[in-house]
Symmetry: C2
Subunit: 338 residues, 2 copies
Amino acid sequence: MIIDVHGHYTTEPPEHPAYRKQQLARLADPSTPVPFPARISDDQLRDSVEQNQLKILRERGGDVMLFSPRASGMGHHVPDRDVAVSWARACNDLVHRISELFPEHFVPVAQLPQTPSGSLRRVVEELRRTVEELGFVGVNLNPDPSGTWAGLPMTDPYWFPVYEVLEELDVPAMIHVSTACNPNFHTLGAHYLNADTSVFMQLLSSDLFDRFPGLRFVIPHGGGAVPYHWGRYRGLSVRNGWQDPSELLRNVFFDTCVYHQAGIDLLTRVIPAENILFASEMLGAVRGADPDTGIAWDDTKKYVDHAGLSAAALAAVYEANARRVYPRLDRRLGEMGK
Amino acid sequence: MIIDVHGHYTTEPPEHPAYRKQQLARLADPSTPVPFPARISDDQLRDSVEQNQLKILRERGGDVMLFSPRASGMGHHVPDRDVAVSWARACNDLVHRISELFPEHFVPVAQLPQTPSGSLRRVVEELRRTVEELGFVGVNLNPDPSGTWAGLPMTDPYWFPVYEVLEELDVPAMIHVSTACNPNFHTLGAHYLNADTSVFMQLLSSDLFDRFPGLRFVIPHGGGAVPYHWGRYRGLSVRNGWQDPSELLRNVFFDTCVYHQAGIDLLTRVIPAENILFASEMLGAVRGADPDTGIAWDDTKKYVDHAGLSAAALAAVYEANARRVYPRLDRRLGEMGK
């Protein structure tokens, strides 16, 4: 079985982003009517994925996709907490309905109603609702809800209430920012990768996983710059008396959203196969195909298949690691006899 | 000949950082006496590099190092322009004196008196002084003088006065940030790499080099995350109608400050040899040796030698590219019969 741990619902019917626009309009002008989540039919939902993520998943030989709302649309920089909760619930309810329509193929992962600062109480509430009531198997956790890095590092006690519940529920978090609110950082070409790099570095110099040994983070986009600079991190660790970066691999995993063969070859050479989770980010940052090879940029299975991994390592990357890191995914698949 | 294009004067006699402390003390309390640059003897300067950068350069078979002041010490986030100018001049004068003491081995590269915003007039003045009067062959240009990314992208017309003079003087700029002023970003393990990635992305979506065809940037630390994610940049370019990333390689070069074999192998596989400049960042972020191999982390010649490059490619990476990208270095070496 091939499990893609990083898919986004980026083909929402237009009524859904229209609801977001109404939310923002009302924040700008409170005399605007209170908006309600769009009514979207099951047929609309089916159409939106059957011709897109599901079609491509099947064409490429994939079986199951962990499916979360559009990351760039999470919009955590908007400070209104009620709006954040309504928006996260609406987004999560859509991916949940899709997972009910296609239970064999889509497994939901939650957007959390983060805001730039303040209490995480309602974040924890939505985490519990999605996991305990709706069967979500993971969450996307934004290390920079402000979009300007105005908040605290992920090793700060500010975050601990979320970590406590992630540990309790045995649910991993993918570290995933939303849209950058700083013109220096292109969202898809810089901010995403910078966040991956920065959070790994925060973890390296901390003892967070001594405190939360059951906490697991998936760092997407192949870990940002981390595997390419693995020697730098090893050297910094020795010089500063930190743990070796390999120590983090008990709790930290990387996905395969790296869109060329040389990149995947580096990832699989540097990071043990047990810590690599197959993913495409489809439909995500990059669409279309390399004109030189005809291979779709995000058809990462092509690169992984050609990375020279053993059959055992491939089985780990494609299936076993995901089932181990996401125990609720494993249980769900088991209940379906898979 | 082996030319290292990225060395920092990180072994300054203590009187020099003491002067900086006095500068900052006076900013905090204007009743403090006006400080003056430390008096440092030639013997002190000789000692400070003979047992450090020069010794290691020789041991590793290097010949020439482009030598700039300590990057993390540039302190461009301090807004006082007079202080920025005094500090840059003091730093530049030291590396200039070292280049006079060891003309065969050290060639000076300037720190610029940047401040978080405002006029670049005095930046241009110090650029002219160092290049035209003191024989500097390059500069370090900080894309984030604020340390918090509060400024404008490097494609903004704000920067054009510097680019005009860089082009006129035929001097390249290494894109190099200083200390991060945001606790989310570790200076050496995240901020440096994020800056490299972010600036490349800024350039990719711009037409800056149409306007300044003679401008040349060296992106250090192996280009941050860029070569590892080359496919992502190619795909983003096709999707967004930008230039292909390879178009940037007329004006953009990467150094070899990547501290393990797998990273250098990726760099040399993805980036044409003509665009790779040998460098160690010595003595820089990472010191000491890999306990597994005994190889010093920043002994990047070891990795480059084992990257499987042809003799012609090695000659380009070690010498010819640096002489082409830094024409004033080439002239200086030529005058010495090299």
